[in-house]
C-alpha cells in the first residue's frame, strides 16, 4: 500500500486552504496585462547535465522543464530488426510541480505527454543515421506554470540539438487558448472570441475557455508534426488559431536558434 521508500504525509492532513491563483476570465484579461500575441520570455540553457550526451533547461516564467538526451546507444528494449533508429521518450512530472501534490512516480498523464512528445519529435530526426540504436530522451517537469507540453517539446528539441543528433530541422511547439466572452454552449454564436498565445496556468484554467490548440512546426521543412485542437468551434476559427500558432512557432524558432548559437 504505502510506498516504503518515501516519507508520506500523515493521513489526517489537508493542504493549506486558499489558493491565491485566480483563474483569468474574458473580462479580466490576461494575467499581468500580457498582450494576446505575446509569448512569455524564454530562458534556455544547454549542457546543464554534464553526464548526458545533451541536455537543456527551459524556463518560461512559471514553467520549468529539464531534458536529458542519451545516445545514440544500444536500446535496452528488445527490438525487432530495423534499419532505422528509434527514440524512447520518458516524461516525469515532479510531485511539487503543480498546485496539488501529485503522487510520486509516473502517472497516466506522463505517458500521454511522452507519446505526444515522441510524435512531435520523430519527423525532425534523421533516424536512418543511427540504425539499430536508440536515442533516449528523459524529460522532467519541475514546475507547471501552463503550456507544459510545448515547453517539453521545445526543451527536448534543444537538448537533441545540443547532443549533436543529426536532425532535419528543429521542431518548435506553440499553443494557444481561445477565450469566449459567453459560455461555450454548443449552438451559441461565438462572436467574441479571443486567442491568447502561450497561456499560463490561470489562463488555461479559465472558466471561459472555449478551446485550445497546440502545434509543433518545423520551419525549414514547412511541416507540422503534431497538431491538437480541442474544444468546440467552427472550422474558420480553428484555421485562425492554427495560423496564430504557426506565427508563434516562427517567433519562438528565432529565439531558440539564438539561444543555441549563443551557447555553442
Amino acid at each position: 500500500m504505502a510506498d516504503k521508500r518515501r516519507i508520506c504525509a500523515p493521513i489526517d492532513t489537508v493542504p493549506p486552504v486558499g489558493n491565491p491563483r485566480q483563474p483569468c476570465t474574458a473580462a479580466s484579461g490576461r494575467l499581468g496585462g500580457r498582450d494576446a500575441m505575446a509569448v512569455r520570455p524564454i530562458f534556455l540553457e544547454t549542457d546543464v547535465n554534464p553526464q548526458a550526451t545533451g541536455s537543456s533547461l527551459l524556463e518560461m516564467n512559471g514553467t520549468k522543464v529539464i531534458c536529458s538526451v542519451y545516445g545514440p546507444r544500444q536500446s535496452h528494449r528488445r527490438q525487432p530488426f530495423r534499419d532505422t533508429g528509434v527514440i524512447d521518450v520518458e516524461v516525469l512530472t515532479s510531485p511539487f510541480a503543480g498546485t496539488h501534490r501529485l503522487a510520486p512516480g509516473k502517472n497516466a498523464q506522463d505517458g500521454e505527454l511522452a507519446a505526444l512528445v515522441e510524435q512531435a519529435l520523430l519527423p525532425s530526426l534523421r533516424l536512418d543515421t543511427f540504425p539499430k540504436l536508440s536515442v533516449d530522451i528523459y524529460i522532467v517537469i519541475l514546475e507547471n506554470g501552463g503550456s507544459v507540453l510545448p515547453a517539453a517539446i521545445n526543451c527536448a528539441t534543444a537538448a537533441l540539438a545540443s547532443a549533436g543528433i543529426p536532425m532535419n530541422d528543429l521542431a518548435i511547439a506553440c499553443n494557444t487558448v481561445s477565450i469566449a466572452a459567453s459560455a461555450p454552449a454548443s449552438g451559441a454564436d461565438q462572436s467574441q472570441q479571443s486567442l491568447w498565445i502561450d497561456p499560463c496556468l490561470e489562463e488555461e484554467a479559465s472558466p471561459d475557455l472555449a478551446g485550445s490548440m497546440l502545434v509543433t512546426y518545423m520551419p525549414t521543412l514547412n511541416e507540422t508534426s503534431l497538431m491538437i485542437s480541442t474544444g468546440s468551434a467552427p472550422p474558420t476559427q480553428v484555421t485562425e488559431a492554427f495560423h496564430t500558432c504557426l506565427a508563434g512557432c516562427l517567433s519562438l524558432h528565432k529565439t531558440i536558434v539564438e539561444c543555441l548559437t549563443r551557447d555553442a
Binding site: 525487432p80 530495423r82 534499419d83 532505422t84 496539488h100 505517458g111 500521454e112 507519446a115 510524435q119 520523430l122 519527423p123 525532425s124 534523421r126 533516424l127 536512418d128 540504425p131 461555450p184 454548443s186 449552438g187 472555449a210 490548440m213 512546426y217 518545423m218 521543412l221 514547412n222 511541416e223 507540422t224 508534426s225 503534431l226 497538431m227 491538437i228 485542437s229 480541442t230 474544444g231 468546440s232 468551434a233 467552427p234 472550422p235 480553428v238 484555421t239 492554427f242 504557426l246
Partner: protein, 351 residues
C-alpha cells in the same frame, strides 16, 4: 497508430504498389480514396450496461459499454460530473506476442476519445453534478476492440456516440432538506432518461496521408504505408471538436525506402500545391500546414454527413425497438461513398 503489433509486415514492393494505387485513385480493394466501407451499427446489446453499442467496419469490431454510477466530483471541478474513457485492445486481436504492445495503441486511442467527448465540452458536465462538491454522476466509457481491420479510431468514436444515444440513467431525487443532502435513485426504470444531447455529439473522420494523397477508412496494410493522419471530430452542425495529427505506420521504415519517386497523382489530389515539383520525395511524418487546412474543411464536411447518417440510423433503430419492444436493437447502416449520400438503409429490428 505506429505500433508494429497491430499492423501487418509488408515488403517494400507491396508498399510501393499501395502508394501508387492510392496516387492513381484505385486502392487494392477497388475503392476510391474517399470511399468508405459499410458500417454496421447495433445498439442495446449489453443489458448490464446503461448504454451500449457495437460498430463493425469490415473486420474492425468495436464494442462500447457505458456504465454510470454516483461518486465524488474531482477537487479541481467540484461542480461537474466526470467521464472516464478507456479503450482495451487485447493481444487476442493482434498477432502480438505480448499484450503490452497492444496496450500502448489502446492507450493512445483512449486519450483521443477523451479529447473528443470530454474535453470538447459537447457534454454539459455541470448538468451531471447533483450536489456540488459531494455527489455527481460518473460515466465510464469502455471500448473493447474485438477485431482490427483498420480505422479503429473512427469506429470507436461512432460506437461511443451510438452508445450515448442508448444511454439511460435513472432519475434522482435530491433531498436538500436533510444534512448532509442525500440523493435517492428513482427505481422506476421506465422513467430513465438520456442525459446527453446526442445530436450535439461529435463523430470523428480520420484522413490518412498515404504518399502525397489523403484517404479515408484504410485497411491495415494502407495504415502501415501511411506517413501520418489527421483526425477531425465534428458535430452534425459543423462545429469542430478535435483536430489531431496521428503517426502512421510508415514511421518504422527508413526514409531511404520511402524516397521513391511518385508520379504526380492523377485526378483528385488534395494537398498538392500549385507549382509543386512533378516528382516528389515522401517524408516520414510531418504534414504540410497548407494540406492540414485543406483537409480540415473536407474532413469536417465528411464527418458531418456521417453524423447525420448515423442519426438517421439511430432514429430507425429507436422506431423499430418501440414497435417490437425488443431488448436488442440493431440497424444496418450502410455508407457507400462519403462523396455523396447513399440512399439505402436496412433497419432490422431486435434479435
Amino acid at each position: 497508430m505506429s505500433n508494429t503489433s497491430l499492423l501487418p509486415l509488408l515488403s517494400s514492393s507491396e508498399r510501393q504498389f499501395i502508394l501508387q494505387g492510392v496516387a492513381s485513385g484505385v486502392r487494392s480493394d477497388g475503392r476510391g480514396r474517399l470511399d468508405a466501407r459499410d458500417i454496421i451499427l447495433e445498439t442495446g446489446l449489453l443489458p448490464q450496461a446503461n448504454g451500449s453499442a457495437r460498430v463493425i467496419i469490415g473486420n474492425t469490431d468495436i464494442l462500447v459499454g457505458i456504465k454510470a454510477d454516483l461518486g465524488l466530483p474531482s477537487q479541481q471541478n467540484p461542480d461537474q460530473g466526470r467521464i472516464h474513457c478507456n479503450v482495451e485492445c487485447t493481444a487476442t486481436v493482434t498477432n502480438a506476442v505480448d499484450s503490452r504492445d497492444a496496450d500502448s495503441d489502446a492507450e493512445t486511442l483512449g486519450h483521443v476519445i477523451t479529447r473528443i467527448f470530454v474535453n470538447s465540452g459537447c457534454i454539459d458536465l455541470k448538468k451531471l453534478c447533483l450536489i456540488p462538491g459531494s455527489v455527481c454522476w460518473n460515466f465510464y466509457i469502455d471500448a473493447m476492440i474485438l477485431g482490427f481491420d483498420g480505422n479503429a479510431a473512427d469506429a470507436i468514436a461512432q460506437a461511443v456516440r451510438a452508445a450515448f444515444s442508448d444511454l439511460r440513467i435513472p432519475r434522482v431525487v435530491i433531498d436538500t432538506g436533510s444534512t448532509p443532502p442525500t440523493v435517492e435513485i428513482d427505481e422506476d426504470l421506465r422513467r430513465a432518461f438520456c442525459p446527453v444531447d446526442v445530436a450535439a455529439l461529435p463523430l470523428s473522420m480520420t484522413m490518412w496521408k498515404v504518399g502525397m494523397s489523403f484517404l479515408v477508412d484504410p485497411t491495415p496494410a494502407e495504415e502501415a504505408c501511411a506517413s501520418g493522419a489527421l483526425l477531425v471530430a465534428a458535430t452534425a452542425t459543423g462545429r469542430v471538436c478535435l483536430v489531431q495529427t496521428l503517426a502512421g505506420g510508415a514511421a518504422q521504415y527508413s526514409e531511404s525506402a520511402q524516397a521513391t519517386a511518385l508520379p504526380v497523382p492523377r485526378g483528385e489530389s488534395t494537398g498538392a500545391q500549385a507549382g509543386a515539383p512533378p516528382v516528389a520525395v515522401v517524408s516520414a511524418g510531418g504534414m504540410n500546414p497548407h494540406s492540414i487546412v485543406d483537409m480540415l474543411s473536407t474532413a469536417t464536411e465528411i464527418a458531418q454527413s456521417v453524423a447525420r447518417k448515423q442519426d438517421e440510423a439511430l432514429r430507425r433503430v429507436a422506431e423499430a425497438s418501440t414497435r417490437s419492444h425488443g431488448a436488442g436493437k440493431s440497424a444496418h447502416f450502410v455508407d457507400q461513398s462519403v462523396g455523396f449520400f447513399a440512399d439505402s438503409f436496412a433497419a432490422t429490428s431486435g434479435n
